[in-house]
């Protein structure tokens, strides 16, 4: 297993941004009223923020990053690493992070790269940027994590449309020789690649006129080839099987108990799945914050969005030990154990 510890790096601050436009699942009339009630009850998702045509993942992440840098009083010329983790980049090429470097006025001495991950994005992103900052001599970096996943969805697909929403985030990290180590347990299983997939529009299946044809895959599940499909049953089964042992293996690796941690922040998939995982791990409700009712499943952005919208005040006011755990598309999953000490955490930003 990819279990490892990284030192010499600390999180200085986190911010998040959602589109202002809000959609209620009570208005999702593609399904019957009975199905709608069941959907809201089991997924726990009432409202979702949906990016408008002019809003891309860069817009959400840049708004979050600009605010964070202002609050931190960091000079942009000091930023030497910029990593953006998303499955919904602004363009197929070039990498969105490079365009963000110019747009934010970051120096040309800043390295910038994109990573393509979804539900596990935040945990994986932290591992890459922490590894760089802790060992390279680079001092300050920005990790941008987000998705505008609703742009890939069909409104006539009840298995995805009422679940997913959009958000972006920014995390500022810096070299800190006295910082406690950050511990990771990261896993992958490409055998489940088709469980969540946009089948057409890449190089394997280039987009054609046929890609835009809406096909009924099952009752209530209609989408085109270039829209995201999800095998909910398979993803559910995968997460029930894998998340608990992943978290427990991380705890065993660092010889800590669940009681050593103040909060467990999980990827926000849906309430039924997340509560099942919480009960399997025997975690008390008060240690497992949710943002599902208000923001839905925001793909890559769920973990930082929960931290900012639900834990913002405690993150700023006292030291915390946290477990963060992401799981989904890939299939890719992983957990991180980290300590933060009164970090900067501006209130959630809403973008017009």
């Amino acid at each position: 297993m990819a279990k490892f510890s990284l030192g010499n790096v600390r999180i200085a601050g986190i911010s998040a941004c959602v589109p202002r436009h809000s959609v209620s699942n009570w208005d999702y009339d593609w399904i019957s009223e009975r199905e709608r009630k069941l959907l809201v009850r089991t997924t726990g998702i009432q409202n979702r923020r949906v990016a408008q045509a002019h809003q891309c993942v860069s817009d959400l992440c840049v708004a979050a990053a600009e605010r964070l840098l202002t609050e931190l009083a960091w000079d942009k010329s000091e930023i030497e690493v910029l990593i953006l983790v998303s499955q919904t980049p602004d363009h197929l090429m070039p990498a969105t992070s490079i365009m963000v470097q110019d747009r934010m006025g970051l120096p040309k001495s800043c390295m910038a790269l994109d990573i393509n991950l979804g539900c596990s994005a935040y945990v994986y992103g932290l591992s890459v940027i922490s590894g760089l900052l802790g060992n390279s001599g680079l001092k300050k970096g920005l990790l941008l994590v987000g998705d505008v996943i609703t742009k890939t969805l069909s409104l006539q697909d009840k298995s995805t449309s009422p679940i997913f929403a959009d958000a972006g985030s920014a995390t500022a990290l810096e070299f800190a020789p006295d910082a406690p180590p950050i511990h990771f347990n990261l896993q992958s299983n490409g055998a489940g690649a088709e469980a969540i997939m946009v089948k057409e529009g890449g190089m394997r299946n280039p987009i054609t006129y046929k890609s835009l044809e809406v096909i009924e895959h099952a009752p209530g599940i209609c989408r085109a080839g270039n829209q995201m499909g999800m095998d909910g049953l398979q993803v559910f089964n995968f997460a029930l099987r894998e998340v608990k042992p992943n978290v427990e293996a991380l705890l065993a690796y660092i010889q800590k108990e669940k009681t050593d941690f103040d909060y467990f922040v999980f990827h926000q998939a849906n309430l039924l799945l997340n509560e099942s995982i919480r009960r399997k791990l025997k975690l008390p409700k008060e240690k497992v914050p949710y943002a599902l009712a208000e923001f839905g499943n925001t793909s890559a952005a769920t973990i930082p969005l929960v931290m900012v919208s639900r834990l913002g005040e405690v993150l700023q006011s006292r030291p915390l030990s946290l477990i963060l755990s992401g799981f989904g598309v890939g299939l890719s999953w992983g957990s991180v154990a980290l300590s933060v000490d009164k970090i900067i955490c501006p209130p959630l930003i809403e973008l017009e």
């Binding site: 009975r34 199905e35 069941l38 959907l39 089991t42 009840k158 298995s159 099952a218 209530g220 095998d231 909910g232 049953l233 398979q234 559910f236 089964n237 029930l240 099987r241 039924l272 799945l273 099942s276 009960r279 399997k280």
Partner: protein, 93 residues
């Protein structure tokens, strides 16, 4: 179906016992509108008016919580009756 149900039946005798009535009760509790006794072991659950794709997830979650068995997605897809799910719970893949 016969070739697959026979070895499963045999295994039932050696596996930990799961009470059929309590299994049926846990299954029935996932539905809001069914009347008491409406769902039996032989009930083809997909034909229940209330059945939806969301219920498949609820069945997996219930069995995971109550019986510590994580049902394979394909097994649930192939199951027709409550008894099929009961057997799959006794003999997880």
């Amino acid at each position: 179906m016969d070739s697959t149900t026979k070895p499963q039946r045999k295994l039932v005798e050696t596996m930990a016992h799961i009470d059929e009535q309590s299994f049926l009760q846990n299954f029935t509790e996932l539905f809001e509108e069914v009347k008491e006794g409406e769902i039996q072991m032989a009930t083809p659950f997909r034909q229940l008016g209330e059945w939806s794709s969301m219920h498949a997830l609820m069945v997996i979650a219930m069995i995971d919580q109550e019986y510590h068995v994580t049902l394979d997605a394909n097994i649930l897809r192939q199951a027709q009756t409550v008894h099929d799910i009961y057997l799959a719970t006794l003999q997880p893949s």
